[in-house]
């Protein structure tokens, strides 16, 4: 079966060099600050020109022996199926344009979010200047008077070395959300 993520390779990979680990984590902390402080243009500028921002839909599926969860296409929709997000640079630019308009009601007033990123595991990238990075996130969202949403999940990124201020651009991000039915009225924020 074609696999979404090879989780076994990540689990068995050697620990990354301490300096590299530090560098990548510091990148994520700063990236989270951009999102949490609604610095939309700065965050979108971190997406490289070949960005693939992808969030498949997750389903309830009976467990079968030998099936690894994150690579299981019974549990996740495949690339030819429906998804929550399946974006390239052009559609992400459109989303930025929506956010920056005065009429983007779902984020105007803006949500208060807190992106917490942890469990960072770095493995070798496919190109010399890229890294594959697996991480976990918990995102708290509070908006308007009393709305609270809590999202948790796993991110699988391809980070590419860059001469920008934060040292990396995001070339690919696959978000595995820990919800099958999304328990929120929309997904108007990014992960």
């Amino acid at each position: 079966m074609a696999s979404l993520i090879n989780i076994d390779n990540i689990i068995s990979s050697p620990a990354a060099d301490l300096a590299l680990q530090h560098e990548v984590q510091q990148f994520y902390y700063r990236e989270a600050l951009l999102l949490d402080n609604i610095k939309y243009e700065d965050w979108f500028a971190l997406l490289d020109d070949d960005i693939h921002y992808y969030m498949p839909i997750r389903r309830n599926a009976m467990q079968r022996r030998g099936r690894a969860r994150a690579s299981d296409l019974a549990e996740y929709t495949n690339k030819h199926e429906f998804a929550h997000f399946d974006e390239d640079k052009a559609t992400m630019n459109g989303r930025l344009r929506k956010l920056l308009s005065d009429y983007s009601w779902s984020e105007n007033p803006a949500s208060r979010t807190r992106h917490t990123v942890s469990n960072v595991i770095i493995t070798e990238g496919e190109e010399d200047n890229t890294l594959n990075v697996c991480s976990s996130f918990i995102v708290y969202r509070n908006r308007l008077e009393t709305q609270v949403d809590l999202f948790a999940g796993e991110r699988h990124d391809v980070l590419r070395r860059s001469d920008n201020a934060l040292g990396f651009k995001i070339a690919k991000r696959t978000v595995l959300m820990d919800q099958s039915t999304i328990l929120s009225n929309n997904i108007s924020i990014f992960f």
Binding site: N60, A61, M62, N93, R97, K98, S101, T181, N185
Partner: protein
């Protein structure tokens, strides 16, 4: 609980009749959030209406099943050996546990995970563990299978209805069928669903969602979706450069509460939602010309644009965008949206892919259009907690008295594209379902 199996029905038929006025175009806000009315709705609307469960292509092979809902009742939709479809309550008759717990799959049997009562794919109870030792041959298994619903299809769409007395799906759809066909009968090959059903929760009443798709072109180009439109404009074009279309119509079904609206010959909105490739495919491609032949006119095949439609109570879709969904009610104050995408089965692969990507971009939980719908509906719903706000008389008067059945191009009762005649039709049918217990008076 009363005899009807509902909680505290404090509403008399006469009281309910005062909540909605088709004649005056007014609504009482309590129809959206009253608990007792909602309990009556589950009984009188959801247990008597045809509810969209899925598409034939969701369950192509024997034993393929889909777990879904009629109202708040979980049901299993299963393809049978003879290619027919069955729908039955996802509930074991022993202690009421679910018989199937994954979203979809293929089954040879449905075995309850509580005590192991086993059912074949038609929903028939066939095996009870320790039957001989425990029941000593006194259990008549034929008496203890889960409740079956009626299942009927229209153009690949699967609907179910608990009520044996209800009219057939064909009668139920009434004179709305030509308008459904714009999306579902474009090609001899029919349609197919793109895999994956997106589900999300919106704290709002189901009628807001159903009514918007039934009758509300008004919100799209006035306020709600301006930022969604902006997201799809070419880099050098702004909102100031585009003109929101005004030419088009709205249709109100003569029976059943169904409705639709659309622009004519004005691709502005559909272009902003779906982009140039899909706009060309549905208005000017060889496939679009073939659709015109099949549907009997270029009007129905190529010239209706940006169409919205609802089949009462909770089936809604957007021809041209090709999203379709059921608004499953979860109490008066919440819905679960179950949305999927359909495409012409014989559409070129790149067109199918474009439909998939544009739906994800626009009409989905994260879609640049649909995000903002969720925002409006939850705010309104919350407001109705107020003592005065919930008693507010609401205005649904647009186009009152303006519709005609004499339109040269469109059959049925037709008004302008910015109208609320279809909304009035939806609420009037809701009122009839809520106040007429017998199909003798209610039937088409």
């Amino acid at each position: 609980m009363n005899k009807e199996g509902t909680n505290a029905p404090t509403w008399s038929i006469d009281e309910i009749k005062k909540l909605v006025s088709d004649e005056n175009g007014t609504l009482d806000a309590r129809i959206y959030n009253d608990e007792a009315l909602y309990d009556l709705e589950l009984e009188r609307v959801f247990a008597r209406s045809w509810i969209l469960l899925g598409h034939e292509s969701h369950v192509p092979n024997t034993g393929d099943f889909l777990n879904t809902y009629i109202g708040e009742d979980p049901v299993i939709l299963v393809r049978q050996k003879d290619a027919s479809l069955r729908v039955f309550l996802n509930q074991c008759r022993h202690r009421g546990m679910k018989l199937s717990r994954d979203d979809a799959g293929n089954a040879k049997a449905f075995v309850c995970t509580y005590h192991g009562w086993a059912h074949d794919i038609s929903g028939k109870l066939i095996d009870v563990p320790f039957e001989k030792e425990g029941h000593c041959d006194r259990l008549d298994k034929s008496e203890w299978s889960p409740l079956q619903a009626r299942v009927e299809t229209y153009r690949g769409l699967i609907f179910a209805n608990w009520d044996e007395e209800a009219p057939s799906l064909d009668e139920y759809l009434s004179d709305s069928k030509p308008y459904i066909d714009v999306m579902f009968n474009r090609s001899e090959a029919g349609t197919e669903a793109i895999g994956g059903i997106q589900k999300w929760v919106i704290p709002t009443n189901w009628k807001f969602a159903a009514e918007q798709f039934c009758s509300d072109m008004y919100h799209a180009g006035t306020m709600s979706h301006l930022s969604g439109i902006t997201a799809g404009l070419p880099e050098n074009v702004t909102l100031n450069d585009i003109e929101i279309p005004t030419d088009g119509n709205q249709f109100r079904a003569k029976w059943g509460g169904h409705g639709t609206g659309y622009y004519v010959d004005q691709p502005g909105l559909i272009h902003a939602i779906m982009g140039p490739a899909i706009t060309e495919y549905i208005t000017a491609s060889p496939q679009a010309e073939a659709a015109s032949k099949r549907l009997g006119s270029s009007m129905f095949g190529q010239r209706m644009m940006g169409q919205h439609m609802s089949i009462f109570p909770t089936c809604s879709f957007l021809p041209g965008v090709n999203t379709i969904r059921t608004w499953h009610p979860r109490g008066p104050n919440e819905i679960e949206v179950w949305a999927f995408i359909v495409v012409d089965a014989d559409a070129p692969e790149h067109i199918k892919e474009e439909f998939r990507k544009q739906n994800i971009r626009t009409f989905s939980a994260g879609g640049v259009f649909e995000q903002d719908d969720g925002e409006n509906w939850i705010e309104v719903q919350k407001l109705f907690r107020g003592n005065k706000a919930r008693k507010t008389k609401l205005n649904v008067q647009m186009g009152l008295g303006d519709s005609t059945t004499e339109h040269p191009d469109f059959p049925g009762r037709i008004g302008g594209v910015y109208s609320e005649d279809a909304a009035r039709g939806m609420y009037q049918h809701w009122l009839r379902m809520m106040t007429e217990p017998s199909w003798d008076t209610l039937k088409p």
